[in-house]
């Protein structure tokens, strides 16, 4: 169930997180607006490598249930931005909060984040099940075996669970990798070209899994080159160029064809 942030409708979240949110909010009558904090909120986020600013002052905020599709040419800083939000890199300036906690407060922040990349981040010698169970345990999931089984089932790869990952095709490896990313039911899913290597069945499974996460109140950040796939899932769309967001708007406000040509123009004029 998604709630639009404009009219401030109360948003039902899963698990015991709900009370955490309500305790921070001003009390009000049920029918009036109760502000729900965004799942991820970045203000002036920047990261420089030596003299080069890969991410140059990015502001974004994604509410529960929203999906931000992030487009942009190579070298725009999209992957760096993702790595910043995942806690893999520290920003050189700016702030970022995930689930209300500042990123620099320590490891607990990372517990709510799931990362999907075009690299599988799996251990080839271990089975699919072992890989996903390991991730589940590292995230403190109580019934790791059960959660792993469910996640693998969701990605329609349960029948190959006992196969060592290196014996699987690239597409199946990607499915296992996605299962690994969602096994702990993260509230923020960072996806970097997740559809790479997936066939129709795999793509459908991924889209279904992402939609399911959104339905449970997760926020998605989807980096992709594929405008069609990105816009299909998105509630918001942004284009990143040279470390900055040059366009950031709601999906409902754009016309795909016009967007596509505007994007092409932006990409080709970039050095």
């Amino acid at each position: 169930m998604t709630g639009r942030r404009d009219d401030g409708q109360v948003f039902a979240l899963s698990g015991g997180v709900t009370s955490q949110y309500f305790s921070r909010m001003p009390s009000a009558a049920p029918s009036s607006a109760i502000a729900v904090p965004p799942v991820v909120e970045a203000v002036g986020l920047a990261r420089a490598f030596g003299g080069r600013r890969a991410v140059d002052g990015v502001d974004l905020s994604i509410m529960p249930g929203e999906c931000l599709a992030l487009f942009g040419p190579n070298g725009a800083g999209k992957t760096t931005l993702l790595r910043l939000l995942a806690g893999l890199l520290a920003p050189t300036s700016g702030t970022c909060r995930v689930g209300g906690l500042a990123l620099k407060t320590g490891r607990a922040v990372r517990a709510e984040v799931g990362l999907i990349s075009h690299a599988s981040m799996l251990y080839g010698a271990l089975t699919a099940r072992e890989n996903v169970e390991f991730a589940a345990r590292m995230y403190g999931v109580r019934d790791a075996a059960g959660a792993a089984r469910r996640a693998l089932g969701q990605m329609r790869v349960a029948d190959r669970a006992e196969a060592p990952v290196r014996a699987l095709s690239r597409g199946l490896q990607q499915r296992v990798s996605i299962a690994r990313a969602i096994v702990h039911e993260p509230r923020l899913l960072l996806c970097d070209e997740p559809y790479t290597g997936l066939d129709e069945s795999g793509s459908a499974a991924l889209t279904a899994a992402l939609a399911e996460r959104r339905a449970h109140g997760a926020a998605l950040l989807l980096v992709t080159h594929n405008l069609g796939e990105g816009l299909a899932l998105a509630t918001h769309a942004a284009i990143m160029r040279r470390g900055r967001l040059v366009r950031h708007e709601e999906r409902s406000a754009l016309d795909p064809a016009a967007y596509a040509s505007a994007y092409r123009e932006l990409v080709t004029t970039d050095a």
Binding site: A48, G50, G51, A54, N74, G75, R83
Partner: protein, 240 residues
């Protein structure tokens, strides 16, 4: 953190290797050389060969100083993350390697006529040998990493761990020597130093220190130039 281009701190003569420091150091070394050969009396028991000691000991002391600088700069770098600090460490390590090589070569040259053997595992020589290994590892490590920030970070870690290693080497060598009968050689570790010799030794130490500073500055200048070059080529760094 900062994107400043390192122009302000480049020493004047980045384009010329030979600046006034180098000249001063060369003059100092030449002066010491003259003094050692002609104006210092030869030592009674060891004869002329002992004169290489004036090269050996100051080189060793300056090698230790260079290492201390590397260790301190390593800690400071991890704290401040300033690339200038890393450049000082890098320069000091290379000059230190040079000095340690001098120690390791002059040692045997002195040792053969005095002790009768080319090499002996005495405390100082062994420690210097390990210093040489650490320096060499430090420099090879730096050569194997392309990314400047990673290079600086890894070198700093090695610099600090290397400094932690030294006391353990010292303890091991000391224990080894006390428990093992070493070949009995006439080994005047510190020659009794009449004033003339002591003065020469001090001059030599000062001259070598001057060489250290001069080479450090020159090497630092080179490091600055390389950073400038890397940044100019830096746009080939794709999105990460």
């Amino acid at each position: 953190m900062t994107e400043r281009l390192p122009t302000a701190d480049a020493p004047r003569a980045t384009s010329a290797f030979v600046d006034k420091w180098i000249i001063a150091a060369a003059v100092a070394v030449a002066a010491v050389y003259v003094r050692v050969i002609w104006f210092t009396p030869p030592e009674a028991t060891q004869g002329l060969a002992q004169k290489i000691y004036y090269l050996h000991l100051p080189a060793a002391l300056n090698a230790y100083i260079a290492f201390g600088v590397v260790a301190v700069m390593s800690i400071v770098y991890l704290w401040l993350r300033d690339p200038r600090v890393d450049r000082v460490a890098e320069s000091s390590a290379e000059v230190g390697l040079l000095f340690t090589t001098v120690v390791l070569t002059t040692g045997p040259i002195w040792g053969k006529p005095i002790w009768g053997t080319w090499w002996t595992w005495d405390a100082r020589l062994t420690l210097t040998l390990f210093l040489w290994f650490i320096y060499a590892g430090y420099i090879v490590l730096r050569g194997a990493i392309l990314e400047p920030e990673t290079r600086a970070r890894y070198s700093a870690v090695l610099g600090i761990l290397g400094a932690l290693l030294i006391p353990f080497i010292h303890m091991s060598v000391y224990l080894f020597r006390t428990l093992h009968p070493m070949p009995i050689v006439l080994k005047p570790d510190r020659p009794s130093l009449p004033t003339e010799m002591l003065r020469t030794l001090l001059f030599s130490f000062a001259a070598f220190f001057l060489v250290y500073v001069a080479l450090l500055r020159a090497r630092y200048g080179l490091a600055v130039e390389r950073t400038l070059l890397e940044e100019r080529e830096g746009h080939s760094h794709g999105e990460r």
